[in-house]
Each structure stands twice: as C-alpha cells, then as structure tokens.
C-alpha cells in the first residue's frame, strides 16, 4: 500500500470524525408510520398508469388502422391528341401542294419537245 493511499485513508477518517449526527430510531419509526401508503406504492402505481396508457394507445392504433383507406378516383387521362393529329395533317398538305407544283413544269416541257420533232420530219418527206 502506498503512502498516498494511507494519506487518503487518514484524511477521509478525519473528515468523517467531524460529523456528529443524532438520528433516533423512534423518530424514524414515527415518520415511517406517518408516511402515506399511497407514497409507498407510488412507483407501482406510476408503472401501472404508464402501462395502461401504452395498452390503450395500442388498441386505439389497431382500431384506427383497420379501416380501409378511401380510394382516390383516377385522374382523367391526359391525351396528346392535338399534337398527334394536327401536325401530320399539316405535313401532308404541305407535301401535296409542293408535289403538284413541281410536277406541272416537267410535263409542259415534254409536250413542247414532242411537237417540235414532228414538224422536222414532215419537212424532209416533201
């Protein structure tokens, strides 16, 4: 055992020797008898109250959770019909107009060429 431990023992004993109490058995017994029995069972009562709250909460949660959840009606389907229908029609019309214009001019050119050839042939025969 070290000197410091001896010193600690000595100081603790010196500190304790300063204390002089005068508790008496009859006074403590009188206080124990005067104490309300409700206070003696207070921890048990508190635990029972907490348990009751927990049980009631669980029961209420179970009852509340059994009801079916109201179904929300499905929202109206979002259609993209204006885009799908409109844009191809426009494209076809545009293409049609363009092809009509382009085919007319080569047709006219062909006719002109044919007429010219016939005139040349008749001249050679005479």
């Amino acid at each position: 055992m070290s000197d410091e431990e001896d010193e600690l023992r000595r100081l603790l004993a010196a500190r304790a020797d300063r204390v002089h109490s005068n508790l008496s058995g009859p006074a403590i017994r009188a206080r124990a008898s005067a104490r309300s029995p409700l206070r003696r069972f207070a921890p048990v009562l508190t635990a029972a109250a907490v348990l009751a709250v927990v049980v009631v909460s669980l029961v209420l949660l179970q009852r509340g959770g059994g009801e079916p959840v109201p179904q929300v009606p499905p929202a109206a389907p979002v259609t993209t019909s204006p885009t799908v229908v409109v844009s191809p029609t426009t494209a076809v019309e545009t293409t049609t107009k363009h092809s009509t214009e382009s085919t007319t001019s080569p047709a006219n050119t062909t006719r002109t060429t044919t007429v010219t050839t016939i005139e040349t042939t008749t001249t050679k025969t005479h």
């Binding site: 410091e4 100081l11 603790l12 508790l23």
Partner: protein
C-alpha cells in the same frame, strides 16, 4: 437486533459514510433517514448483515438521489458577489472533501468504499452493481484526481520524475 438498537448503534457510521458521499452533513442525514424509513417496514424480513444492506441502500439512493436533488433544490441568491469567491480550505481533510465533491458519483462511491469502508474490489462491485474492472478503473481515476490534495505532484505518481 431491533430497529431502534440498529439505529442507535450504526446511525453515526452511516451518516459519516453518507457525508463523504454527499459532501454535507445535512444532506447525508436526509439521505440516511430516507433509506431507514423505507427499510423499516420490512425490517424483520431482512437476512444477513443489516448494516451491509442499509449501506448498500444508502449508496444506491445516493447514486439516484443526487440526480433528483440537483433538479429539485435550486437555491436563489439575493445578489451575486462582485469579486471571485475564495474558500478558506485550511484543513487538508476539508480540501479533500472539496475535491471529492468534484468526482463523478460512481468514482466517489468507489473511493469512499475502498478507503473509508475498507471494502475489497468484489465487495465494492457488489455494492455498486458493476464489474471489478470497472471498480479498479473508478478507484484509479479517483486517486489521480485527488493527488493534488494528497501532497504529491501528479507527475511523481505517474513516474515521470
């Protein structure tokens, strides 16, 4: 031994032990009285060493009671002192009590049980409800904290000099 005889014979030792734990005699008397009031209804049913039983009850009450006490008793002061308050800790045992009060509750109880009540590590572990290794740790750290009061420098204790 009747309850009155037990109180007459051991109340001084119990209050002294509780004073080392609490730091003040008034608190210690309240603590011991509270424990004895609770023990009295089942006094005849107690077996074994009644002093050891009551001492353990006092320790357990201290370990839980300090928490309640700190929140229950808040004392207001009329005015705050302007300067720094200096205590006159003339006596070494008063300085020790002051330093002892700074220790955590479990450490303090372990140190007092070892060096005042002269209990062994297994006995302290049984009182505190912890392992022996924990008890040794509490005592080691408690001693390290009290070295300044015990008259030697902490560096000497740790073998640096």
């Amino acid at each position: 031994m009747s309850f009155d005889e037990f109180v007459h014979e051991h109340q001084q030792a119990l209050v002294r032990y509780a004073t080392l734990l609490c730091g003040g005699q008034g608190d210690a008397e309240d603590l011991v009285q509270e424990v004895l009031i609770r023990v009295y209804p089942r006094w005849e049913a107690l077996e074994g060493s009644r002093y050891a039983y009551v001492r353990r009850a006092v320790t357990n009450e201290f370990l839980s009671w300090r928490r309640r006490w700190s929140t229950r008793h808040i004392f207001a002061t009329a005015e705050l002192p302007e300067g720094r308050v200096e205590f006159d800790w003339a006596e070494p045992d008063q300085r020790l009590a002051h330093e002892l009060r700074k220790l955590p509750r479990q450490q303090r109880a372990a140190v007092v049980l070892r060096y005042y009540e002269d209990l062994t590590d297994p006995e302290i572990a049984a009182v505190l409800g912890c392992r022996e290794g924990t008890v040794r740790g509490h005592i080691s750290r408690g001693l390290a904290a009290l070295r300044s009061v015990l008259g030697s420098d902490e560096r000497v204790w740790r073998g640096h000099e």
